[in-house]
């Protein structure tokens, strides 16, 4: 089966593809940061629950309060890149989603359960006692499964060559397990979550320490340790990820293309820099290094996608209808929305209550 024959015809787009690429990249960076915070915090809380038993742990308690927010915003900030990726790569992602439809649709039910479980962990933190371990475990376990489903879909969409399996299994239960890229890529994202979760813990407790709500920097240090440990492991997964790529694509990141190589190199350097800063207990500087690293990694991820799909398709070839006015509506709405969000957060801050991560 010729994969080219299977790739659906794309639809037209209203404005130049670069707009969508920019929006996709920007919103994905936001999504991945919040997602990492959510999952990483959850993992940290779970580990602490396992260690501390029934004693209420302040870090876990703090995470329990924030977990529902982070789930809400992970979902919310996931919607935008999923929208824009469908605009640019709809013919690939719709197809891969159908091939693994059972798992893909299960994401909805799984997230609902994880979400409610997180709320129970929050609202009943004290009342549950040791049983709260179950709820944080359910949430974390489900979220790691959801991450695996996402990784499958995001890689399956890049592999039209494997789509022919549909003809022997049209029941929506295909995965992309034979793709050597799948496992390091999945571990890369999970480990990134642990790192970001650790850093976020460090930042939160750093703020608490500054405000006098915490008496020591112990939790800051612990968070930074998590960050450093995970980032070191990340280097291993990153290398594995790189090696798992098809030769021609890997070559692009190893000198074959200066853009690809430079971006990856910068991203790795950013990671190393954040490690150094974390080791020096400079959590806020480490944050900036992390943000730069994540941004560069997301760019690299986009380049990787283009490299995979380049043989079949490039968004530059999409037909543009040239209807710009709806985008103006969106940009105005976005600006107005952001102003109102800031306004509400300021009102909330004035009320002296935490309302957002």
């Amino acid at each position: 089966m010729d994969p080219a024959r299977l790739i659906p015809s794309p639809d037209t787009i209203p404005v130049h593809w670069g707009w969508f690429q920019a929006l996709l990249t920007l919103t994905f960076i936001l999504h991945i940061l919040v997602m990492n915070t959510m999952l990483g915090s959850g993992i940290l809380a779970l580990v602490r629950e396992l260690k501390t038993g029934s004693d209420p742990d302040p870090v876990s308690r703090d995470i329990s309060k924030k977990l529902p927010y982070t789930i809400a915003f992970t979902v919310n900030l996931g919607v935008a890149p999923l929208l824009f990726v469908q605009v640019l790569y709809g013919q690939f992602i719709y197809t891969s989603s159908i091939l693994m439809a059972v798992y893909w649709l299960a994401v909805i039910g799984l997230v609902i359960v994880a979400y409610y479980s997180a709320y129970l962990y929050d609202f009943k933190f004290d009342a549950l006692g040791q049983a709260r371990l179950i709820f944080i475990a359910v949430t974390v376990l489900i979220l790691t499964v959801v991450a695996l489903i996402f990784t499958n879909n995001m890689t399956l969409m890049l592999r039209p060559g494997s789509w022919g399996r549909y003809f022997t299994n049209p029941g929506g239960t295909l995965l992309n397990l034979s793709d050597p890229m799948l496992y390091p890529r999945y571990l890369h994202f999970i480990t990134a979550s642990v790192a970001v979760g650790g850093l976020v813990q460090a930042l939160i407790w750093s703020l608490k320490y500054k405000s006098g709500a915490a008496h020591t920097r112990d939790h800051v240090t612990s968070g930074l340790n998590w960050f450093m440990g995970a980032t070191c492991v990340q280097m291993v997964w990153g290398l594995w990820f790189l090696l798992s790529l098809p030769g021609s694509i890997r070559a692009l990141f190893l000198g074959g293309s200066s853009l690809h190589t430079a971006l990856l190199l910068l991203a790795v350097l950013g990671g190393i820099l954040s490690l150094v800063l974390a080791a020096r207990q400079r959590e806020w500087q480490a944050l900036w290094a992390l943000l730069s690293t994540v941004t560069l990694m997301v760019f690299t991820r986009e380049l990787l996608r283009s490299a995979f799909l380049g043989a079949w398709f490039t968004p530059a070839n999409l037909t543009v209808t040239g209807e710009y006015s709806p985008m103006v509506l969106f940009l105005i709405s976005l600006a107005a929305g952001l102003v109102l969000v800031v306004y509400m957060l300021r009102l909330a801050a004035a009320a002296g209550k935490e309302v957002a991560p």
Binding site: D11, G78, Q86, S97
Partner: protein
């Protein structure tokens, strides 16, 4: 077709959408109305200085957040996932057309989340004014979400100018956008009250509880009035085809109409009842009932809205099975398998026919149909079909009943799909090509002595191909009613037609005397025909034996509506019962002449080929209840009648009691199509592009069938279409006359029919059935013999009833054409494959061959040699040519 199809089996047919979408939409509307409820109730609490009420609002906010933000928010994404899995093509159109609409909606979604978190977590901690502001901001964000999603959803129903311009704005501000927005806003407010009932029930303080319940009643009842008004506005804004689809076309939608109105009524009445005093447990039950009925109401409405756009998912752009109008043209020119991306079979061979059929099935059928599931189960819907019936149903899809998309592809692809459904899904064995021939015995030829016999008795049935429908307990379209005619000639130099002092008697052959033992005609005759009849007595009083009466106009003896049926007492099927006809001198009582003739009466009416069921008698003919019932089911479904219910109450109907029919002389219901136009016009839409099989799948003329009624001389060289045209032509000629007569139903049946014998419908000559029929002289111009290769009798009709072959006389105005040439469809020399002599008894009796009377010699009647003929031109030539040794 552009995308792979997820094979869902039982969970198909919209089940997933029903499961996810309806609950989400219910909660999503609550998320909007509930937002206003929160802020206004908080305001009321401040105004009335009610700490209890304020505490209630906070509790309700928590409930609201857990329901709308967690469940509502994630299931909203779930709908998106689901539609992208089930109809990626249409989803892609929605995404690409409205990407910035969706993106703006995402901004609102973000605003909602932030506002709700702030509202809940700062409750009682923020100052009243700012907190109320947050509440208002939540509502505004939520309502704007509704505003945006509503525009896009209604775009799918009424895309308006977008179809021409492709513009975002034209699609968004579509013709039903505003009324729908008003309607949904009203629903959202009602649901705020409905969910408010639930939380109010758990308020501990009785007075506050009752007061909040009454307050929630107002939230249900006041928007209820707005919902009704905007609902009417919405309905009136719908294009007429959508209204027709909802109210008339789609048989399933009535269920949702009922659900919608039942839900509405329960919401209204429940709202009032909850305001009245009653024990708390009862109120709690009622509140949960109202909550459940809210879901029913919402589901009813959403299914109606989605159903109204059938067969489209984006009206006039993308069909429900994701095939676009543009694709449709390509598929119909190139073939489906050649056009679709996600198929592995590109060309159909006998080997891969079922595999190819399965691929077509997956793409064209499963987007809407489940296999064995609760929604639109294909197994139930196709259970009755043979491959032919299934293929015909596919042919008719999207035509008269336009709630389904048409089948798209080649004829071969359609057959492959039909074969897959019948052979693989229904697991039906292949049908035998031929039916066993009935054993009807051999007709003995009465004697005739040309030297001594003074009389020639000619007798015939006036319809050579004659059916009866023994479906009487359910309906009837042709009763047992056979007309026999006879003419008696006194031989001589100038033969004389005998019309007086003679009694012509008829007697059916043994075994056929008691038809009431074999059919239910007499049990149902009162309901079907409005009269009581003694068993074995026909509608005009004729029995299976009796005396013919003189029809002076035709100059022939006649016995009409003899209730003969094709079932002899030995339990077999014999569509050609013989009648003995004898002429008796009334004065002397002496028998002057004796002959025999066939009264063809077939029950091989192939309704079962598409309507299911089996043959009732001997595997060869007759209606089983399954077939008869399904015919009524289909009629009721398609025409909104209740004929099955009536039949099951013992009130079957004659089809022609509503549909007028010249042959039965019924006037029917004014405005309805006459019966032949209706039945041929309807079924022609399902049987296009076919040859004579379109005829013989209903009429008893199948070449391998048990009756094989086309047995006259024309059977050798011509077929049904030679005189009647193809089914499309035949139907159009009837419908065109009905259309000219202003019958409203004609255009609908004509819309998808294309004539085949002539280039355009304009070229078709309209006709009245049983009056304007093919004229023998169209081909037999001046009584000559035409070239069978070019003979075509279609489109030139007899001018009136007197021009019909069965009514006409020779040039002497004495002898009827049928007397010498035999019955229509059994014109001499006729060959009945079941019994070779049976349809040529008189030629064999009087002249020793099967040809028309007087074929070789005039001496059958004339006792002297004749030089001229008075019967019709060319007769002398034919006689000369056919003299032995000529």
């Amino acid at each position: 077709m552009n995308y792979p199809v997820w094979e869902l089996y039982t969970a198909g047919g919209g089940f997933l959408i029903a499961l996810i979408a309806v609950v989400h939409v219910y909660v999503a509307h609550f998320a909007v109305g509930g937002g206003l409820f929160l802020v206004l109730t908080e305001h009321k609490a401040y105004r009335t200085d009610s700490a209890g009420m304020l505490a209630y609002v906070k509790q309700h906010t928590r409930f609201f957040m857990l329901v709308t933000m967690v469940f509502g928010g994630v299931t909203g994404v779930g709908i998106w996932f689901t539609i992208a899995l089930l109809n990626p093509g249409a989803t892609s159109t929605l995404i690409h057309t409205f990407v910035f609409g969706w993106a703006t909606e995402w901004v609102c979604f973000t605003g909602e989340i932030v506002a709700l978190f702030v509202y809940f977590y700062t409750f009682g901690k923020m100052k009243q004014g700012p907190h109320l502001q947050i509440g208002w901001l939540y509502f505004i964000f939520a309502w704007l979400s509704l505003f945006l999603v509503n525009g896009i959803i209604d775009f799918m129903l009424t895309p308006g100018q977008w179809l021409d311009t492709g513009s975002f704005w034209a699609g968004f501000f579509n013709p039903t956008m505003l009324p729908s927005l008003a309607f949904r806003t009203a629903i959202a407010l009602m649901f705020a009250g409905v969910f408010g009932f639930i939380t109010s029930m758990f308020i501990q303080e009785k007075d506050l509880r009752e007061s909040m319940i009454r307050y929630c009643c107002l939230w249900v009842l006041i928007p209820f009035a707005a919902m009704l008004a905007s609902g009417l506005w919405y309905f009136h804004a719908l294009p007429q085809p959508v209204k027709t689809m909802i109210l008339k076309r789609s048989p399933e939608l009535m269920t949702y109409v009922k659900l919608f109105f039942t839900g509405s009524a329960v919401l209204f009445v429940g709202g009032i009842l909850l305001a009245l005093k009653s024990p708390l447990p009862m109120k709690k039950c009622l509140a949960f009932l109202v909550l459940a009925m809210g879901l029913v109401f919402m589901g009813g409405f959403e299914f109606l809205r989605e159903g109204g756009r059938k067969p489209w998912v984006i009206y006039n752009h993308t069909y429900a099975n994701a095939i676009t109008k543009t694709d449709q043209d390509r598929i119909n020119s190139d073939g489906f398998l050649a056009s679709a991306r996600w198929v592995s079979q590109r060309e159909i061979t006998p080997k891969n026919q079922l595999a190819a059929g399965k691929e077509i099935f997956l793409i064209q059928c499963t987007p809407c149909h489940s296999m064995g599931g609760p929604m639109k189960d294909i197994l139930v819907r196709t259970q009755k079909f043979s491959v032919f019936g299934m293929d015909s149903m596919l042919d008719g899809l999207g035509k008269i009943n336009d709630y389904m998309p048409p089948f798209m592809g080649t004829r071969k692809e359609r057959e492959a799909l039909a074969s897959y459904i019948v052979s693989d899904l229904q697991m039906k064995p292949e049908e035998p090509a031929a039916t066993a021939r009935p054993q009807i015995g051999t007709a003995s030829i009465p004697e005739f002595n040309p030297k001594t016999d003074q009389y020639v008795l000619l007798a015939w049935n006036n319809l050579g191909m004659h059916c009866i429908s023994d479906s009487d307990p359910y309906w009837v379209l042709l009763p047992p009613a056979n007309d026999l005619f006879a003419q008696l000639i006194r031989r001589g130099p100038l033969p004389e037609l005998v019309t007086e002092a003679v009694s012509i008697r008829y007697q059916v052959e043994p075994g056929f005397e008691t038809p009431s033992r074999h059919v239910d005609f007499w049990k149902n005759v009162k309901s079907n025909f409005g009269k009581d009849l003694e068993p074995d007595t026909g509608l005009s009083g004729s029995r299976l034996s009796g005396e013919m009466h003189m029809n002076k106009e035709l100059k022939a003896f006649e016995a009409n509506l003899i209730p003969v049926v094709p079932y002899p007492d030995n339990g077999t099927y014999n569509p050609y019962p013989l009648f003995s006809i004898e002429a008796i001198d009334t004065q002397s009582g002496k028998r002057l002449a004796l002959t025999k003739t066939v009264a063809p009466t077939a029950t091989e009416m192939g309704c079962k080929n598409c309507h299911g069921g089996e043959w009732r008698v001997n595997g060869q003919a007759g209606f089983t209840d399954a077939t008869s019932r399904d015919v009524l089911l289909a009629h009721d479904k398609n025409s909104g009648t209740r004929l099955l219910e009536m039949a099951e109450k013992g009130q079957p109907r004659l089809c022609q009691s509503c549909h007028p029919d010249p042959v039965l002389g019924t006037k029917g219901t004014p405005g309805l199509l006459n019966f032949p136009a209706a039945i041929h016009g309807w079924h022609a839409n399902y049987l296009t592009g076919r040859g004579t099989e379109a005829c013989y799948k209903c009429h008893p003329s199948a070449p391998e069938g048990p009756t094989r009624c086309l047995r006259g001389v024309h059977a050798d060289t011509l077929d049904c279409t030679s005189c009647h045209g193809f089914l499309e032509d035949h139907a159009l000629s009837l419908l065109k006359q009905e259309d000219l007569d202003g019958k409203p139903g004609a255009k609908r049946l004509m819309a998808h029919l294309k004539p085949r014998k002539v280039p355009t419908i304009d070229a078709i000559n309209p006709r009245t059935p049983w009056v304007n029929e093919p004229d023998c002289l169209t081909c037999h111009k001046d009584f000559t013999r035409p070239d069978p290769a070019t003979a075509d009798g279609f489109n030139t009709w007899t001018k009136g009833i007197n021009g019909l072959y069965r009514m006409r006389h020779d040039d002497s105005e004495v002898m009827m054409c049928e007397a010498c040439h035999g019955s229509p469809h059994a014109i001499y020399p006729a060959k009945n494959v079941l019994d070779p002599d049976r349809d040529s008894i008189q030629p064999l009796q009087y002249q020793g061959n099967r040809r028309a009377m007087g074929f070789q010699r005039c001496s059958v009647c004339h006792t002297v040699e004749m030089e001229d003929t008075l019967h019709h031109p060319m007769q002398e030539v034919i006689l000369r040519e056919n003299q032995p040794g000529a």
